[in-house]
């Protein structure tokens, strides 16, 4: 087996894009600054030179139109990858995504599929203030007709794109902005494609089930290490897929630990963690030895100054405190 190699999350995304463009000529990348500029997070650097303007399309700042055009092109037999620079700008294209991409198949009585992949960066942590620090994955994970994934590791960033392109229905991929520079291990050989249906246990444990996704997974792992020195064994679950949710992995873990803490960078009210908490209560009520606890963003527009941004968003200390709470320590 060829030994694994370490690359950054950004390089993993670029490799995935390049592989898709090579493997299927129907694939093309469309979005703001994806071509000449090489991508707002430099994920498509070099692709314009290799594949040309026809398949690496810089668009005007018309999110609704180019996302709508992506839907139309998918209907027309292409396999578009539409990059919306960040979830913050996707609000302008919500109507196209929700009222057309997600709805068309069911509403047309099954006549049309929309094989479209939409990628967008998400999350706070770089002092971009309220309008550029949103974490709205739960809005998309709320909509039937969409699949929503959140690669937290380099391996998932490398492997999810191709699987998403193979899916006949629209898939939305959220890449947390804080992950692009992280380095990670990629297996040496074999097909890098990974599934987009199951959650993964990143760390086994017996006392508390710690659930997180995207940028929150590494914080959960750090918190688990700290809790271990405190004699508490945490099992860390990386959701990977936000719709459909993989209840089984969570429920099985809680049958062992009897306690759950969910880390979610969205605002608490109506968040994805609220949905997960409700499902745990419905399916594991008699297994619970403590109320399901959530660590979410404070319900405020994310502030600009670092100390306030940190105070507003989930941090390792808060996760450790939540773990101690459910352990009644």
């Amino acid at each position: 087996m060829k030994s694994g190699r370490r690359i950054t999350y950004r390089e993993a995304v670029r490799e995935a894009l390049r592989e898709a463009l090579v493997k299927d000529e129907r694939v093309f990348l469309m979005g703001e600054d994806v071509g000449r500029y090489g991508g707002a997070y430099a994920c498509s650097r070099g692709l314009l030179e290799e594949f040309g303007e026809d398949r690496i399309r810089d668009t005007p700042l018309s999110e609704s139109a180019f996302v709508g055009a992506g839907i139309g092109a998918a209907l027309g037999g292409m396999r578009p990858i539409v990059e919306i620079m960040t979830v913050n700008f996707s609000l302008l294209a919500l109507d196209q995504i929700v009222n057309t991409a997600a709805t068309l198949r069911h509403m047309s009585g099954g006549q049309f599929s929309v094989p479209l992949v939409i990628r967008m960066a998400t999350g706070a942590g770089r002092q971009l203030a309220a309008q550029h620090s949103h974490s709205l994955e739960c809005w998309y994970a709320h909509v039937p007709g969409l699949k929503v994934v959140s690669p937290a590791t380099v391996q998932d960033a490398r492997g999810m794109l191709w699987t998403a392109l193979c899916d006949p229905d629209p898939v939305v991929i959220f890449e947390h902005a804080n992950l692009y520079n992280d380095e990670g291990e990629l297996p040496g050989d074999g097909d890098p494609a990974v599934d987009i249906s199951r959650s993964a246990i990143r760390r086994a444990g017996n006392d508390v089930t710690l659930v997180g996704y995207g940028g929150s997974v590494k914080k959960a792992l750090t918190a688990a290490e700290r809790a271990a020195s405190d004699g508490i064994s945490c099992e860390v679950i990386d959701l990977r897929v936000l719709r459909p949710l993989d209840d089984a992995t969570i429920i099985t873990s809680i049958a062992k630990t009897h306690r759950a803490v969910i880390v979610d960078e969205g605002w608490r009210s109506g968040s994805l963690s609220a949905e997960i908490s409700a499902r745990i209560q419905e399916q594991s009520f008699f297994e619970l030895d403590a109320p399901v606890t959530r660590v979410c963003s404070a319900e405020v527009p994310i502030p600009y100054p670092k100390h306030l941004e940190d105070a507003a968003t989930p941090q390792v200390e808060g996760i450790v405190a939540a773990v101690r709470t459910v352990m009644r320590k």
């Binding site: 009897h258 419905e282 008699f286 619970l288 030895d289 403590a290 009644r328």
Partner: protein, 389 residues
């Protein structure tokens, strides 16, 4: 003749108030003509007629509130290509053809919170307490006032038994109490008893135990169980079950043994097919049953397979007992305490170890003669203890 009805003019319109008729009886009308004006919550709207003909009768006067679909006028149709009469509009609009509510599974019944003071116990702890036959109210909460798994495990038996799958005793006790009450009212009990000299059997047992290592000693209940099981084969009406109004005799003797519960109450799990077992096997089954009753780990089958039950008072307790049958069985055998009592043999009074055995029977199935047959057979067996092995 065509009925002109109040049309629905919008998704949320229920009725309209007639402002004025624009046609009068006898007027000719053709498709598309406006024949009336009505007031709706939005604005005044003109009503169109979709048929050619002549106004016959106007049924509603201006100012009247007319629900959508009600008839307002009658038109004599002159139109040859008669427009198919529009069937009665569906009054209640059934969205989605009656969406089946079960698609959203309602949560199962909410666990009842304990009465009295506010007992803060977690669901997992409540379930574990039941498994360990521990009364939640009797458990000591942690410093935070909550009873969690750790508090239950601390109160439970020393060794942390693995998550046993048996029936929780508390539930079982409640179920049996119910059965007893029913039995007492539904089953017509008759009672027959006789006193038996068990000296030979007790002497035989003492000799047998003296030969055995201490761990292999037999309790005196073991030879009694053996004798009862064999004697029952002579009185089949005492060994079976009464279900749906008729008696089902059993080919084997599954003898229920009444065992005392820690928190009070009797439970009678059965030793299955006693007559196939050796004395040592009976002793082992008995020891196992007692341990599992205490640990709350009985199997469902043990509680339901019994064909007759044996209940025995301890050494210095009482002389005889009138027990109640465990439904759906049809008899129960009660042993008083074994003790030295005066006894007549060959005209002389001697001291002998005797016991009074009472048969309670179900008069719908058997009568005293069956009980007497059983008791005589039991007596004979207990006089020849070496046949017990």
């Amino acid at each position: 003749m065509i009925e002109f009805r109040m049309p629905s003019l919008g998704a949320d319109m229920e009725a309209g108030t007639l402002l004025e008729w624009l046609k009068k009886p006898g007027d000719a009308v053709k498709r598309g003509d406006i024949i009336a004006v009505v007031e709706t919550q939005k604005a005044a709207m003109e009503l169109e007629i979709f048929a050619d003909g002549v106004i016959d009768r106007l049924l509603v006067k201006p100012g009247a509130r007319v629900p959508v679909g009600d008839v307002m006028a009658i038109i004599r149709s002159s139109d040859t290509a008669s427009v198919p009469a529009v069937k009665e509009p569906i009054r209640s609009t059934e969205p989605f053809g009656g969406l089946d509510a079960s698609t959203v599974a309602p949560p199962s019944a909410l666990p009842s919170s304990s009465a009295g003071q506010e007992l803060r116990i977690t669901p997992a702890a409540r379930r574990r307490a039941l498994e360990l036959a521990l009364e939640p109210a009797s458990l000591l909460p942690g410093p935070d006032g909550i009873i969690g798994l750790q508090e239950v495990e601390a109160a439970g038996p020393g060794a942390m038994p693995t998550r046993a799958k048996g029936i929780a005793n508390a539930e079982m006790r409640a179920a049996i109490a119910g059965a007893m009450a029913r039995s007492n009212s539904e089953i017509p009990h008759y009672y027959v008893s006789s006193t038996i000299d068990v000296s030979r059997t007790m002497t035989w047992l003492a000799a047998e135990n003296a030969k055995r290592s201490i761990a292999d000693r037999l309790l005196y209940t073991v030879p009694m169980i053996r004798a009862v099981a064999r004697a029952l084969t002579k009185a089949p009406e005492l060994n079976g079950r009464f279900i749906d109004g008729h008696f089902q005799p059993s080919t084997v003797v599954n003898l229920g043994i009444a065992i005392a519960l820690r928190g009070g109450g009797l439970i009678a799990p059965a030793i299955i097919d006693v007559n196939r077992l050796s004395l040592d096997e009976i002793m082992q089954r008995l020891r196992d049953l007692v341990a599992r009753v205490r640990g709350g780990r009985l199997r469902g089958s043990e509680m339901t397979e019994g064909t007759t039950t044996l209940t025995m008072l301890g050494e210095d307790t009482a002389d005889w007992i009138m027990p109640i049958i465990y439904p759906p069985q049809t008899a129960i055998i009660g042993f008083g305490r074994v003790a030295d009592r005066p006894w007549i043999t060959e005209g002389r009074i001697i001291s002998a170890k005797t016991v009074t055995v009472t048969v309670a029977g179900d008069h719908r199935v058997s009568d005293g003669r069956a009980a007497a047959t059983f008791l005589n057979r039991l007596d004979q067996i207990l006089q020849e203890p070496d046949t017990l092995c």
